[in-house]
């Protein structure tokens, strides 16, 4: 095949030119190769054998000098120089496969981790919403209440001249199942303005309008708009989906439109798969009313007028604040609260990057991990720099030959930097794959059963720029030192030294040692961080919760759509409990309004008869309603008095049980039994409850929080102010996993009332999910801490081995003069301990300085925890000892006779 033959001649010409350190233009290579191929062919025609013919052409090639042909001016103009450099660099990388593989692997992990974390930061905090002109979006700062009421939205909408658009929404998980076991989909209530204000249209069908957004539904009845992903998942992307019925919370909705693929809604961190009009609230939740002035549930977003700044818009809204507040005053509120309500200023905040609770929660942890991965990359860079330096030393001879043949120093530097850049680019390429996989894995880790995290991780210019920037900086970091080392080579060195080490070698060793000190220091920081986060997680995960979550299954029963009169609900829930209690394998059952760390809270400000004086904010206590068997089922200790009994029901005196924290806060530790408590400030219909028992402290809202004062009241004396359409049945199984009981429990409850919607979740899952952030941070910090240790260990080992091989003669002579092997080991280890010691001191210093920055992420330990620091130093010392001992042992086995003979 002539083409292949020509190619092979071309590559021979190039190699020959490389040997002479010459650049040939593509055309010249072509022409010379053509000539050689002709020579070869002619020799064959002349009767030569293939071998002879090839040899003849090769002889011509070897006898050639490329000095003159390479001076061809067009060679300089063509971009062949870069390709040429890349080709040489590629060959150099292939020539030392192990060094290259280690470097690529470290880089892939380093750059990959950086890209992965950055793409999360990008999706969560930097990327603008994929909507029209996101810079003009602003959100009404929800302040203390966390949300807004519908009447406030109405007042704002009435003043449409303020903004170019306004809408409100509330995220909601809708149950797709029609009774029985629930099947949730992430969705939202939204006003029709959502689509126009965000400036997004449907992919198929239509969005809903003001006409649809009315109580009970518009001309088409209840309508819903679905996401592209949900359309694909549920309807296989079929056009017939439009017009189909979708049952949400038992109410049939008509699908009228599908949103385009990139659209996920105004919240970053979740995707709205189903959007329904706010006006449908009362149809789905009959106990709610849009007019309710103390139902805080909506987020409000506006589109500013063109050219309007956030401050101008805030001023405009503030000028109307008195009227807006006055018109929406909550009914039945104490005067103090109303005064506060009137005064609280309305403020707009920029919302180009959307609204996100996830962002608040994860911004600091992500930033911390970002720092961690940058440090890991730096350690990797130091390692690669050391590897390349070692190789650079081996190549000094080659370089001096090149210099002697006329290559410029700049040319050498350029070539080495090309090599570094190529290495870095390959690392980044692999790293990019690692990042894609890693960031998806991380997002999956953040999701829990009740909260599916969705982040748009598609690659945008920011991620690309970040990765490219990181790649170039990385290449410069590890490539500059060897490159300048090459530039320092003298042409005469080749002749003088025959490539042997000389005076400048000392420079190489001290530079490499410096890098190792840096690595050790950075590793100390990472190991300290990893230890702090791992200990935080362990402390939280093993914390005494005040109850025993194992084998408890939480069954949330929702009577929302069950045709049960409000007054009868408790009785139905109780009958369901009894039905489950009689099942085989069930050890205990109890009803509760709230379950621990479920994300639901119920709290009041309270006053206790004979209690200590407290400020308003200190009067807050969390509350729960539980059935008699609750404390037994949860394994929560009864400390004094009694638990609830069946006699604590409607009609009998109202009773309460409090925890120890309550007694400490409200009664200064005195025995609370016999005291009464009631809401503060007292409202007309509030009754007093008598405290009849004290239980041990138990976690309520968050594991990290100090145990709050908690008041338990009897489920058989339900608080009428609660919209208790939903109640939890806690089931303790006799053995094995409680999840196995799901089927029999569902059947038993269906036997009582088939319209109850049921959601199952093991209590231990619920608790585990509340530690997601800590678990993810600990996992990442632990992984990168270990990686840092490994890299630092390798670096130390490499430098020590190199130093030992260089001092082989000296060690040999020492041994010949009678030095014992143990003395040699000491000699080597003393040097290692110096490097490790210096690194540890620097690293510990930086750790102590930086630790307070992560204080908020820690639990149960001081950021400058001495135990953690000491432990980390010990780990580093151990790694250093192993990394140093291996070469030291080798040094002690040097045979003086062999050394003396060789030298």
């Amino acid at each position: 095949m002539p083409d292949r033959e020509l190619r092979s001649w071309k590559s021979l010409v190039r190699e020959r030119a490389d040997r002479e350190w010459r650049e040939l233009s593509l055309e010249v290579v072509d022409e010379l190769a053509c000539h050689l191929a002709d020579l070869h062919a002619a020799a064959l025609r002349g009767g030569s054998t293939e071998h002879e013919a090839r040899q003849a052409a090769l002889d011509a090639l070897n006898a050639a000098s490329f000095l003159e042909v390479s001076k061809r001016p067009r060679a300089r103009r063509s971009p062949v120089g870069v390709f040429h450099d890349l080709r040489i660099a590629w060959r150099q990388l292939l020539a030392t496969p192990i060094v290259t593989a280690i470097a690529v692997l470290s880089l892939a992990l380093g750059i990959g981790a950086n890209t992965a974390i950055f793409s999360l930061v990008n999706s969560l905090s930097l990327r603008a919403l994929p909507v029209k002109d996101p810079q003009r979006l602003a959100i009404l700062d929800p302040q203390d209440n966390g949300a807004w009421t519908y009447p406030i939205l109405e007042e704002l909408r009435r003043r449409s001249q303020l903004f170019d658009g306004i809408f409100a929404w509330d995220t909601q998980r809708f149950d797709l199942a029609n009774g029985g076991v629930t099947e949730f989909v992430d969705g939202a209530w939204a006003t029709a303005g959502l689509f126009d204000t965000l400036g997004v249209g449907p992919l198929v069908g239509r969005t809903f309008t003001e006409a649809d957004d009315v109580r009970g539904g518009g001309p088409d009845g209840p309508v819903a708009v679905i996401s592209h992903a949900f359309w694909q998942r549920r309807f296989g992307g079929a056009g017939e989906a439009i017009g189909t019925r979708l049952t949400l919370e038992g109410v049939p909705f008509t699908v009228v439109g599908v949103m385009p693929p990139g659209f996920f809604g105004p919240d970053v961190g979740r995707r709205l798969d189903v959007i329904v009009p706010v006006g449908m609230l009362t149809t789905v939740r009959p106990e709610r009313s849009l007019e309710q002035r103390d139902y805080w549930w909506l987020s409000i977003m506006v589109r500013l007028k063109a050219g309007q700044s956030i401050d101008q818009a805030t001023d405009a809204i503030r000028s109307l604040q008195p009227q807006i507040r006055e018109a929406t005053l909550p009914i039945n509120w104490p005067t103090v609260d109303l005064m506060q309500y009137l005064k609280a200023p309305l403020t707009l905040a920029p919302a180009a990057t959307g609204n996100s609770s996830l962002r608040q929660r994860y911004e600091r942890p992500l930033l911390t991990i970002m720092v961690v991965v940058v440090l890991v990359l730096l350690i990797a860079c130091a390692n690669i720099a050391n590897l390349l330096l070692a190789r650079a030393t081996a190549r000094r001879h080659e370089w001096s030959v090149r210099l002697a043949l006329g290559a410029s120093r700049w040319r050498l530097v350029r070539l080495l930097l090309t090599e570094s850049l190529l290495l870095s680019a390959i690392g980044a390429g692999v790293g990019f794959l690692v990042a894609r996989w890693g960031s998806q894995l991380l997002v999956a880790q953040l999701s829990t059963q009740t909260n599916t995290v969705f982040l748009d991780l598609s690659i945008d210019w920011r991620v690309l720029a970040f990765t490219t920037g990181t790649t170039v900086i990385t290449a410069l970091l590890f490539g500059v030192a060897p490159a300048f080392r090459a530039a320092g080579v003298s042409p005469m060195e080749a002749i003088k030294e025959q490539g042997r080490g000389a005076g400048s070698e000392t420079g190489r060793v001290s530079f490499a040692s410096g890098l190792v000190v840096v690595q050790v220091a950075l590793s100390v920081i990472l190991v300290v961080a990893a230890a702090l986060f791992l200990r935080t997680f362990t402390k939280l995960a093993t914390l005494d919760l005040g109850f025993d979550p194992s084998q408890v299954l939480v069954v949330t029963m929702s009577a929302e759509r069950a045709p049960i009169a409000t007054a009868q609900r408790m009785a139905v829930f109780e009958r369901a409990r009894q039905a489950v209690a009689s099942l085989p394998g069930v050890q205990g059952t109890a009803l509760s309004f709230i379950t621990p760390v479920s994300g639901h809270n119920w709290g009041n400000r309270l006053e206790v008869s004979g209690g200590v004086a407290l400020t308003d904010s200190r009067r807050s206590a969390l509350r729960n309603e539980v059935s008699p068997e609750f404390f037994e089922t949860y394994g929560q200790r009864l400390i004094a008095g009694r638990a609830f009994t069946d006699r604590d029901r409607d009609g009998s005196p109202l009773v309460a049980i409090v925890n120890e924290a309550f007694a400490r806060r409200f009664l200064d530790g005195a025995n609370p039994i016999g005291h009464t408590l009631r809401r503060y400030p007292v409202r007309p219909d509030d009754a007093s409850l008598e405290i009849v028992g004290v239980v041990g402290d138990a976690v309520y809202r968050r594991i990290r929080d100090p145990i709050p004062p908690t008041v338990y009241s009897s489920a058989m004396q339900p608080d009428r102010s609660l919209p208790s359409t939903e109640y939890n049945l806690n089931v303790r199984s006799a053995s094995g996993t409680s999840m196995l009981l799901t089927r029999s429990i569902a059947d038993a409850i269906a036997g009582v009332n088939k319209d109850l919607a049921l959601t199952f979740r093991p209590l231990s899952d619920q608790i585990g999910a509340s530690l997601t952030q800590e678990r993810v941070v600990a996992m990442l910090a632990g992984f990168f801490g270990a990686l840092a240790l490994l890299l630092a260990g390798l670096g130390l080992y490499g430098v020590t081995s190199y130093a030992v091989s260089r001092r082989r003669n000296e060690i040999g002579i020492r041994m010949a003069l009678g030095a014992a092997p143990a003395a040699v080991v000491r000699l080597v280890l003393s040097r290692v301990s110096m490097l490790v010691g210096l690194g540890v001191v620097i690293g510990a210093g930086i750790s102590l300085w930086a630790a307070p920055f992560v204080a908020t992420l820690l639990y149960g330990l001081e950021p400058r925890d001495p135990m953690t620091l000491a432990g980390s130093i010990a780990v580093l010392a151990a790694v250093g000892a192993v990394a140093g001992w291996l070469p030291a042992r080798r040094a002690s086995r040097i045979d003086p006779v062999v050394v003396l003979r060789d030298s």
Binding site: P2, V28, D30, E31, C34, L36, A60, A64, S65, V69
Partner: protein
């Protein structure tokens, strides 16, 4: 035949003349030129192929010849060189100079050329 001393030195200067002369009748590619020089000199004159191309590039740079990639049926793509008008003038001048030079040598040193 191996040239030594003065003749070997002179050979270097003749390369340009020979290339121009062989391109005078028709465009040729590098390999063809090398073959022609070798054949016509009965093997007495050979150029290392890299030097031949160096000469070609030098002449091209001076615009005395012009190279062009040509693909002929059944053959591989080759770069053909063609003499330019300027090259012809240079060739004519050089021929004249060499002729005068040889006549001078003949007269002075009694060397005859066939």
């Amino acid at each position: 035949m191996e040239f030594t001393g003065a003749i070997r030195e002179a050979k270097k200067g003749t390369a340009e003349l020979l290339v121009l002369a062989f391109l005078d009748d028709e465009p040729r590619h590098g390999y063809e030129l090398a073959q022609l020089i070798e054949e016509r000199s009965g093997g007495a004159l050979t150029f290392n192929f890299a030097s031949l191309y160096a000469t070609l590039y030098k002449l091209e740079e001076r615009k005395w010849i012009q190279g062009r990639w040509v693909e002929k049926a059944g053959q591989r793509r080759r770069r053909y060189y063609k003499i330019t008008d300027e090259g012809r003038e240079v060739l004519a001048a050089q021929r004249k100079e060499w002729r005068q030079f040889f006549e001078l040598i003949r007269d002075l040193a009694g060397v005859r050329y066939a």
